[in-house]
């Protein structure tokens, strides 16, 4: 269980990290919190000639509210997201999901950008990014570009970033008004990756009509899945018109290729997913009502 040899480069800034990635080419990999990469290196599932460390890069850490957007720098550790007053006031869904990520020892080092760039299908942060329509700010020697969350996650552990690009920051839209957020997941033990889970966001108008909503599932397929047809049914309906169970059924109907393996047949995983959608949706509605 020892990683293969590599050369170590501690980046001084985001630009320095991008330069190192550009210069070193495909044999280089970023290391942020190391909570996914270090195990994969130890098990020799992957090996790289060069690791570029961004865990101490000051301009890759920090949380800022800019009008209607919350900007979280990629190498901000989960624990700072969990404890941030700005986050809970702006994008409380992040505050709700963070305690579900692994254990506190993992969240002390793991970073939000690492989780999103790693793109594990069962991870919580990617689902939040997809549900809220976050924008990924990506940096390379060629410049900066924004990628919409809907176009970012392309499959298990893969994103639409190029290998010389780094995720610089994640821009989350702030929902305000009569809004509520919910998360639910089912895992064998607290801190394990979920078998399936869901996040939900809702905005109600003064007449308790659903004026905006979003639901995303995780763990159900190769990438987070937005429940678009469930959302279109809900939009414009009154609270309670469509039952949470029906929302769950509609949501899983959108999943084209559910994960299917010997331990967890697709039918079982989908029924877990439907029930987590129902719970997350109910929680979101309750919060919007009483928020």
């Amino acid at each position: 269980m020892k990683p293969a040899p590599f050369q170590y480069h501690a980046a001084n800034s985001a630009a320095d990290a991008a330069q190192l990635l550009g210069d070193l080419g495909d044999d280089a990999k970023l290391i942020s919190g190391g909570q996914s990469l270090a195990p994969m290196l130890a098990m020799r599932l992957v090996r790289f000639d060069h690791l570029v460390d961004i865990s101490r890069v000051a301009d890759l850490r920090g949380i800022d509210r800019n009008n209607g957007t919350l900007i979280v720098q990629a190498a901000t550790p989960d624990v700072l997201v969990e404890r941030s007053d700005v986050v809970v006031a702006s994008v409380p869904l992040l505050t709700k999901v963070t305690p579900l990520i692994g254990h506190f020892q993992i969240r002390n080092r793991g970073t939000i950008g690492g989780s999103i760039a790693h793109a594990d299908p069962a991870a919580e942060y990617p689902a939040v990014a997809v549900a809220l329509g976050a924008q990924m700010e990506c940096l390379s020697v060629r410049g900066t570009r924004m990628i919409d969350a809907a176009d970012y996650f392309v499959g298990i552990w893969s994103t639409s970033m190029e290998s010389d690009e780094l995720l610089k920051a994640i821009h989350f839209p702030v929902w305000s008004g009569r809004v509520g957020f919910g998360v639910a997941e089912f895992a064998r033990r607290h801190g394990d990756f979920a078998i399936a889970g869901a996040v939900a966001a809702v905005e109600l108008d003064s007449g308790n009509v659903i004026s905006r909503c979003s639901i995303a599932m995780f763990g159900v397929s190769g990438q987070p899945e937005r429940a678009l047809s469930a959302e279109s049914h809900l939009l414009g309906s009154s609270v309670g018109e469509i039952s949470p169970e029906e929302v769950g059924r509609l949501a899983i109907a959108d999943v084209e290729s559910p994960s299917d393996d010997a331990n967890m047949p697709a039918t079982y995983r989908m029924s877990v997913a439907a029930s987590t959608v129902a719970t997350a949706w109910t929680n979101a509605l309750t919060e919007a009502h009483h928020g």
Partner: protein
């Protein structure tokens, strides 16, 4: 920061108040650096991939897996290992005493990681509920005790009264 150029960087870390320097290979984990180079073998390695928690240490005040940090990444860090939790004269810490009292260990392999995690847990939440204790311990595995003694130890260390079954009154 460690040297960014090719070659083997020099690392200086403070471990239990003592400055340690070394030139570990970049692939050497902080856990192996502590055990092999600093000869502090209280930090145990079970899984070496982040799951078991036996290697948990304090790094800059927070409990982390030392098997998931490379020693070169710890340049300038302030580390506390299990050896640094008892007093210099060997007097056990509150958590260590409670583990002893509650039979929170059998073979002891997992114990250093548990003691570090419990110390961090109680620092951040001095009076945890049953649920919070269980969640707080979920990142540490024990193959011997069945956990009840460990949970009882957390309660004792937190100053909560417990009966013989570890239930709070």
């Amino acid at each position: 920061m460690a040297d960014t150029t090719v070659g083997i960087p020099t690392v200086s870390v403070t471990v239990n108040g003592v400055l340690r320097r070394g030139t570990p290979e970049p692939r050497k984990t902080l856990a192996d650096f502590l055990r092999d180079d600093c000869e502090l073998t209280g930090t145990h390695l079970g899984c070496e991939h982040g799951v078991c928690g036996a290697c948990t240490i304090f790094m800059d005040g927070e409990a982390v897996r030392s098997c998931l940090v490379f020693a070169v990444q710890a340049e300038g860090a302030d580390i506390t290992t299990i050896e640094g939790l008892s007093a210099p004269d060997g007097t056990l810490s509150v958590v260590q005493k409670a583990m002893n009292e509650a039979h929170g260990l059998q073979c002891g392999f997992c114990t250093p990681g548990f003691v570090v995690s419990i110390t961090a847990l109680l620092r951040d939440n001095p009076d945890p509920s049953d649920e919070e204790i269980r969640q707080g311990l979920s990142g540490n595995l024990c193959r011997c005790t069945g956990y009840q003694g460990i949970i009882k130890a957390v309660k004792i260390a937190a100053g909560q009264s417990v009966d013989a079954n570890g239930k709070a009154h």
